[in-house]
Symmetry: C2
Subunit: 304 residues, 2 copies
């Protein structure tokens, strides 16, 4: 089974109450692919970088089973750069700098061998770019996951609606679900959004966990309580990548598999936030993640 | 097994995006006792009311197994009155009126037969009044639960610390836990607060559920997703009352029993918020609550 992740591979400068890091590696495709490769091989990355992006970071991903030939390197170009500061509550964040750089001219080209990847993650990008990726795929995909954000709901609603109609699973946060549906109640929002196309919906609630909706069914996974969240950057992408990696490994897209998958995704993301950038992901194993999945089980287990 | 609940029995005027109700019955002891009597009998209520409070409301409670002889009725006095408005998000609320009325001179007197009640809930009141209740008890209690709020952390910290040191279980919300501990991380907050006395701590997170802490163990219960939260007033007291009723029925205070108890409390509270005042609680049965407890089970159940 192969996976395709589309999204940024980039640099971040991040300040949290725990410290500050400059020009660390980040980006949706980087986090998601790192997470997916705990569970699956053949993870095709589709992105664009400048010649400032370190080769060794791509080599590390290759050695985990990622395929980086779909990452376009622009000679003389600079990689996408984001700088932000998390406030004391670690939820609110302020964007200080967004330099699109090479991302401004991103025209993703999917390598021939990746066009029939069974599992696809469209990371947060302009809906037009996300659609351009779908246009190049064979259409034989088993699960296409779309991530987006409030920004696109505000400024590109029509294009966003059109890409939402083409995917199987949408992941957004609770505030965005309310924006997208125009409905206060999350349950009613979920119904409205699933009528827009996706058969599955994940509503992410940050430190409060995530909910998976499918028809009339709901599954809830809390966030793993950890002593200190050092840096939430990349948690959502790590969640999505871990989830999709698990699904690809099972090669099954039924509701029960997806329930387990979002626990595996949450477990992977719970490690991501324990250090800056993907530092923690570099030192953990699949066994560590499985250990935390078992903790999720005991966290919510009770007798009737 | 007998239960004692101390708290207001009062009138509320409440406005939410779903409507407005005037002078409906409410109060911590009323909600908690209503909830507890789904599971247990002999629920002694300790409160104070004016002669404006309707007898039939007390009769309904009596017919469920509550004992109202500990509710002092002040001739010519007016019952505690609170008026508030919930904003569009149904979380933020604005207090419009707080009339203490007879509550200003509340000196709780515990009936002789209630002094050895095994299970005690000290609803949100001044810490001095909560202490005065503890002073009258036999000290043979199996579990004493304390509820409080940010207001007392701000203006009566010393008295509050002293009553916290005397109880077995404290229930507060996440913001209050951070205030009380001076610590951002909820896990660290929980450690600090349990060192202040209580062996158990429940951190309530409103629409995001609740967490139970005990030594190094954590249990998490989500809020039951329901289509529309009509009125959140009384949810916390209903949660505490349902929980304590279940514990009393089991007559066991170990961690496993408390885990189940907070699910039963959450299930009861999830009905409370479906209508104004205690209207919904009046039309449901213990079987309905058990049905929702089973839904909690399937909401979080997954395969490893």
């Amino acid at each position: 089974m192969s996976i395709l992740t589309v999204g940024t591979v980039a640099f971040d400068t991040i300040e949290t109450p725990y410290g500050k890091v400059d020009y660390v590696v980040g980006g949706a495709s980087l986090y998601a692919s790192w997470a997916a490769t705990f569970f699956a091989k053949d993870v095709y990355m589709i992105s664009i970088i400048g010649d400032d992006f370190p080769d060794e970071e791509l080599s590390k991903l290759e050695s985990r089973g990622a395929k980086t030939m779909g990452i376009e390197r622009v000679a003389g170009g600079k990689s996408f750069f984001w700088s932000g500061k998390y406030l004391e509550d670690m939820i609110s964040r302020e964007t200080l700098v967004t330099d699109l750089n090479v991302l401004a001219d991103f025209n993703p080209v999917i390598p021939e061998e990746a066009k029939n990847a069974e599992y696809v993650l469209l990371g947060n990008l302009t809906p037009a770019v996300q659609s351009a990726v779908l246009d190049q795929l064979t259409g034989s995909q088993k699960l296409v996951v779309l991530d987006t954000m409030n920004f696109w709901i505000d400024i590109a609603r029509e294009e966003l609606d059109s890409v939402i109609a083409r995917v199987d699973l949408l992941t957004i946060n609770d505030e965005e679900a309310r924006m997208l549906s125009g409905e206060r109640s999350l349950m009613k929002s979920a119904k409205i959004i699933m009528e827009m196309g996706p058969k599955y919906l994940i509503i992410k609630k940050g430190e409060h966990g995530a909910m998976l909706f499918h028809q009339d069914e709901i599954f809830y996974v809390p966030a793993m309580p950890i002593p200190d969240v050092i840096d939430p950057t990349g948690a959502g992408d790590t969640f999505a990548g871990g989830m999709l990696g698990y699904i690809a490994a099972q090669d099954n897209v039924d509701f029960d598999t997806l329930k387990s998958a979002i626990v595996y995704g949450s477990a992977t993301a719970s490690y991501c936030v324990e250090d800056f950038s993907n530092e923690k992901l570099k030192v953990i194993s699949k066994e560590d993640i499985l250990g935390r999945v078992r903790k999720f089980k005991s966290l919510v287990d009770f007798s009737l």
